[in-house]
C-alpha cells in the first residue's frame, strides 16, 4: 500500500533538504552522530511533509508534533533542527517539547488508570459483565472470556501507546487513527530511505 504521491514527493524533497543541511553541519562527526543526524533529518522531514500535505483544520498529526518535540529535547540537535525548520519552527518544537514534559493530562490519566487497575477486581468485573451481557446478548459463560480478551487488548494498546510518538495522551479511536497515520508515514520513510541508499551506492558499469 503506497502513500499518495504528493506526500511522497513532499517527503522526499524535505528529506533532501534536511540531509543537505545535515551534511553541511556534520562533516567530521563519528558514525553514531551521523546516524543520529540522518535519523533526525528524516523524522523532521516526515513530520514537515505530513504537515504540508494535510488539510488545514487538522493541521498535523499528533505523532508528528511529538516526534519533532522528542528530537528537539536534545540540545545537540538544536543547530541542525534550526537549519532545517528555520528558527521559528524550532522554537515551536521546543515549546511543544516543554509542554509535553509537563503534560498534566497524560499524567492524570496515568493516575486514573492506575487507580482503576488497583480497584479493578470488583468494579471492573462488574463493568465487563454488564458490557458483555449487552454486547453478546446474554450468556454468563462468556463473561470471563470477554474480560480476558479485554485485558489482552488493553495490554496491547498500552504497548502501542508507547510505540507511537505522542501516543501517551491518546485513547481509543484517536490512538488508532494516529497509529494508522504513523504506519503509513513510516512505510514511506523506509521506502524513500531505501531509494536513497540504492542510489548512493556506486553504480557498476
Amino acid at each position: 500500500m503506497h502513500a499518495p504521491r504528493k506526500f511522497r514527493k513532499a517527503f522526499m524533497a524535505q528529506l533532501l533538504v534536511s540531509l543537505r543541511a545535515a551534511g553541511q553541519a556534520s562533516k567530521s562527526m563519528g558514525l553514531r552522530e551521523r546516524r543520529d543526524a540522518v535519523r533526525l533529518s528524516s523524522d523532521v522531514a516526515m513530520a514537515l511533509a505530513s504537515a504540508r500535505t494535510r488539510s488545514a483544520p487538522r493541521s498535523s498529526a499528533a505523532w508528528a508534533r511529538a516526534l519533532v518535540a522528542r528530537h528537539a529535547v536534545e540540545r545537540r540537535n538544536e543547530a541542525l533542527m534550526r537549519r532545517i525548520m528555520g528558527g521559528a519552527g524550532y522554537e515551536m518544537a521546543a515549546a511543544a517539547a516543554a509542554a509535553a514534559r509537563s503534560r498534566k493530562e497524560a499524567r492524570s490519566r496515568r493516575i486514573v488508570r492506575r487507580s482503576r487497575r488497583v480497584c479493578s477486581s470488583s468494579a471492573g468485573r462488574r463493568r465487563t459483565v454488564s458490557l458483555a451481557a449487552a454486547a453478546a446478548s446474554g450468556g454468563a459463560v462468556r463473561c470471563s472470556a470477554m474480560a480476558a480478551a479485554r485485558r489482552m487488548v488493553k495490554a496491547r494498546l498500552r504497548v502501542l501507546r508507547s510505540l507511537v510518538p505522542g501516543g501517551e495522551a491518546l485513547r481509543g479511536l484517536s490512538l488508532l487513527s494516529e497509529t494508522l497515520d504513523y504506519v503509513v508515514c513510516l512505510k514511506t520513510q523506509v521506502e524513500l530511505m531505501q531509494c536513497l541508499c540504492k542510489g548512493s551506492r556506486p553504480k557498476l558499469g
Partner: protein, 401 residues
C-alpha cells in the same frame, strides 16, 4: 433496488452537504449510479475498477488534497504546530483545478475533521466519504471493501421482509463491522442527513438506550479503523480479533522503526552526504511514471555536468533549484523532457528569463521548499551555496561513471 434508492438519497445528501465538496464529484456520481443500476454485481465490478489504486482510507484522500498549497518552511513548521497556514483561502481556489483529488479529499477530509471535532457529525460525512471516494476512483481497498460490503448488504435487502424495508430506508448508522451477525437485519445504508449529531436508529433486537447506541457507534468506528489497519499491515488478513490484530500491528510498527534505524545507519555510512541522490529520485519516480524517459533525463545530468560551472555561477545557482525540482520527479516527464532540451541552451545563454519560465512550470510546494532553503543559505552568507556547487559537481561526476 435498495442500493439504487440509497444512491438517490446519497445524491440528495451530497447536494445539501457542506460547500467544501467539490462539484466535480457530482459529475462522476450519476455515471457511477448508472453503472450501479446496470446490475448489482456490475456495480460492484465498477466499484472494483474505480477502487483500483491501493492506498489507505481517508488519509490518502487527505494527503492528496492541497496539491497546490504552498507553505513557507516556517509555515510548514507552523502548520505542524497548530498555527493556521498562510493564505488558506488562496489554496482553496486551487482545488477546482484538481478535481479528482479534491473531490476525493473533501468528503474524506470532512470525515477526518468530524473525528477531530469529537465525532460530531462523522457518520454523515463518512457515509458520503465512502461512496464518493469509491466513485471518485482514487481510492483504496478498505473503502472498496466497505463499498462492496455495502453493496452486498444492499443486495441482501432486496429480498427482505417488509418490516425491514423501513429500516433499510431509514437513516441508520454506518454499516457494521461484521461483529454483529448479518441475520439481525442490519442494513448497510451509509446515507445520513448532514446534521450536527449522529442519527442512529436501533437495530432489531438491540438495546435502545442512548449509552449503548453511542457505544455501538463508537465501536463501529473503531472496527472501521481496525479494518483499514488490517489492510495496511501485511499479514493481518488471516488474523481476526482485536487482540491478535493489535499484536500484528505492534510487530509491524516495531519492525518499521528498526528498519528506519538500520537504514539511517546505512545512509550515514555509505553516503558522505553529497548529491548523488538525484539520480535515485529519477529512478524511483521515473519507473513509477514511465520507464523509457529515464535515459533522456540522465542525459540531462551528464550534459549539464559537461558545462563549465565556474563562469556561469549565477545561472547555475538559479538553475539548480529548477533542476532539483525537476529531478524530484514531481512533474510529468514530458515537462522534464522539455527542460532537458531547454536546459543546455539556458546554460549557454545565461538568461535568467528561461529560468523564470521553467520556474513557472512548477507551481507547487517543492519550489517553495527550495526557495526557502536558498533563502536560508543566503542568510548564512552564501557559503552553503558554494559548497552546494561542489557537491553537485561531485554528484554529477559520480553519475557519469
Amino acid at each position: 433496488m435498495e442500493g439504487r434508492a440509497g444512491g438517490g438519497d446519497y445524491i440528495a445528501s451530497l447536494l445539501s452537504s457542506a460547500p467544501r465538496l467539490d462539484f466535480g464529484v457530482l459529475g462522476s456520481v450519476p455515471a457511477m449510479l448508472d453503472a450501479a443500476a446496470a446490475g448489482g454485481d456490475g456495480g460492484e465490478d465498477c466499484l472494483d475498477r474505480f477502487c483500483g489504486d491501493p492506498g489507505f482510507a481517508e488519509r490518502a484522500a487527505r494527503l492528496s488534497s492541497f496539491s497546490g498549497q504552498r507553505f513557507a518552511g516556517a509555515g510548514a513548521a507552523a502548520g505542524l504546530f497548530g498555527l493556521p497556514p498562510p493564505a488558506p483561502a488562496a489554496s482553496n481556489g486551487e482545488f477546482a483545478g484538481s478535481r479528482e483529488a479534491s473531490s476525493v479529499s473533501d468528503p474524506a477530509s470532512a470525515m477526518k475533521d468530524a473525528n477531530a471535532k469529537k465525532r460530531k457529525a462523522p457518520a454523515a460525512a463518512k457515509g458520503k466519504g465512502k461512496e464518493s471516494s469509491a466513485q471518485a476512483g482514487d481510492q483504496k481497498d478498505p473503502d472498496a471493501k466497505r463499498c462492496k460490503t455495502e453493496g452486498a448488504e444492499g443486495k441482501k435487502e432486496e429480498s427482505p421482509v417488509k418490516p425491514k424495508s423501513e429500516q433499510a430506508g431509514s437513516d441508520s448508522s454506518v454499516e457494521d463491522g461484521g461483529q454483529k451477525p448479518a441475520g439481525k437485519g442490519n442494513n448497510a445504508k451509509p446515507v445520513e442527513p448532514p446534521k450536527d449529531y449522529v442519527h442512529v436508529r436501533a437495530r432489531r433486537g438491540q438495546a435502545t438506550d442512548s449509552h449503548s447506541l453511542a457505544e455501538r457507534v463508537r465501536r463501529e468506528r473503531i472496527s472501521q479503523r481496525m479494518k483499514v489497519l488490517q489492510d495496511l499491515v501485511p499479514g493481518c488478513n488471516k488474523v481476526i480479533g482485536k487482540a491478535l490484530m493489535l499484536d500484528e500491528i505492534i510487530n509491524y510498527v516495531q519492525s518499521l522503526q528498526r528498519q528506519v534505524e538500520f537504514l539511517s545507519m546505512k545512509l550515514a555510512t555509505v553516503n558522505p552526504l553529497d548529491f548523488s541522490d538525484l539520480p535515485t529520485l529519477l529512478q524511483k519516480d521515473m519507473f513509477q511514471a514511465c520507464g523509457p524517459s529515464a535515459s533522456s533525463v540522465f542525459s540531462l545530468e551528464s550534459s549539464s555536468s559537461g558545462f563549465p560551472f565556474s563562469d556561469q555561477g549565477d545561472v547555475f545557482q538559479s538553475f539548480v533549484p529548477n533542476g532539483l525540482e525537476n529531478q524530484c520527479g514531481l512533474n510529468p516527464l514530458d515537462l522534464a523532457l522539455s527542460q532537458a532540451t531547454n536546459a543546455p541552451y539556458a546554460f549557454q545563454d545565461g538568461t535568467p528569463s528561461t529560468n523564470l519560465q521553467q520556474r513557472n512550470f512548477w507551481e507547487d510546494d517543492l519550489q517553495s521548499v527550495f526557495h526557502i532553503d536558498n533563502g536560508q543559505s543566503q542568510e548564512n552568507g552564501g557559503v552553503s551555496a558554494q559548497s552546494f556547487h561542489g557537491q553537485l559537481q561531485a554528484g554529477h561526476m559520480k553519475i557519469e561513471f
